[in-house]
Amino acid sequence: MRIPFLAVLIFLLALPSPGQAAMVDETEIDIQTREIAKTLRCTVCQTENIWESGAPLAHQMRDVVRERVTQGQSAEEIRAYFLSRYGDYILMEPPKRGMHWWVWLGPFALLLIGGFLLYRELGRWVAHTPAPSTEDLTPLDEESRRRIERELHSGP
């Protein structure tokens, strides 16, 4: 009874998984379609790209991308087509031109401004904080020193 069970198990493990099958079957057109579709926004769901979206419009857009890839159009030509129909909104990444530069450079600018303000404020605090005077420090008395040593050497 054990041998047939093991044989079945080995046979099942030897079978390619659906994931492997999909990877093996993925053509160059599939790969290009996926890469382009990932850069285009689903206009219905807004936060998803058309590759990941389950909306019917996204599905149709994927079909259009695939059709154009099959016709031999480049990724840039296909993106330009969608851009001509929907405007910049269709792109998952804002284009690096015009006012869109604010989106790309804004976080770095804020980081720089914030860093500069923090540096300046810390400098001011340091400058206005008086250094501790060594004259005010009283030497450790013998009893305190012994107590510290005792506590350091005692177990937890």
């Binding site: 206009t43 149709q60 857009m61 303000l117």
Partner: protein
């Protein structure tokens, strides 16, 4: 913290707050279309009722109202009586025509919809959705006005009711048709 630093932080936070509030109100309807002033893409598709081919070139030289709709769309039902009213108002003008585009729908359901709600103009099926993408459609209903030269002059996302209906008829169609009357 100096007054200057406080002011700078305040201005930055206020700017970010404004951007955040704007983002919350983000609506595709408010996104300006890039198609206004461009040539309308040509298309060919089957008539919803007869199956005969309909193409944009058949409407050459006319002011065309192109309305995207679907039988499953609730807002399309809301605007349907207005579409019929609009067609009835302008149908006698020789340079006016109207075409419905049935979007993401089953032909039987589209036919049943037209039977129930009535239809006085033709409707073309967007079989693969490619026509909607060509026109940069986000969803239904959406309405376009194409002038005599085949240029897209107006786009409205949402039902043609209330102010959008008045704007479409008085500010868009009437002047366009008056121009065509004057030029012919």
């Amino acid at each position: 913290m100096t007054r200057g630093t406080q002011l700078t932080i305040g201005v930055i936070l206020f700017g970010l707050l404004i951007l955040f509030i704007q983002g919350l109100g983000g609506d595709p309807r408010s996104i300006p279309t890039v198609l206004i002033g461009t040539q309308a893409p040509n298309f060919v598709g089957p008539d919803v009722e007869s199956g005969d081919p309909i193409s944009l070139s058949q409407f050459q030289g006319k002011v065309l109202v192109l309305n995207f709709w679907a039988s499953w769309c609730q807002e399309c039902k809301v605007e349907h009586s207005n579409l019929l009213k609009l067609h009835d108002r302008f149908k006698d003008h020789p340079n006016f025509d109207m075409l419905g585009v049935n979007y993401q729908d089953q032909v039987k359901e589209a036919q049943a919809y037209l039977k129930v709600f009535g239809s006085s103009f033709r409707h073309v099926r967007d079989v693969k959705g490619a026509l909607a993408i060509d026109f940069g459609v986000y969803g239904v209903p959406e309405t376009f006005v194409i002038d005599q030269q085949g240029v897209i002059r107006h786009k409205w996302i949402g039902p043609i009711v209330g102010d959008p209906y008045t704007y479409l008829t008085e500010k868009i169609l009437t002047p366009l048709l008056n121009q065509t009357t004057a030029s012919t």
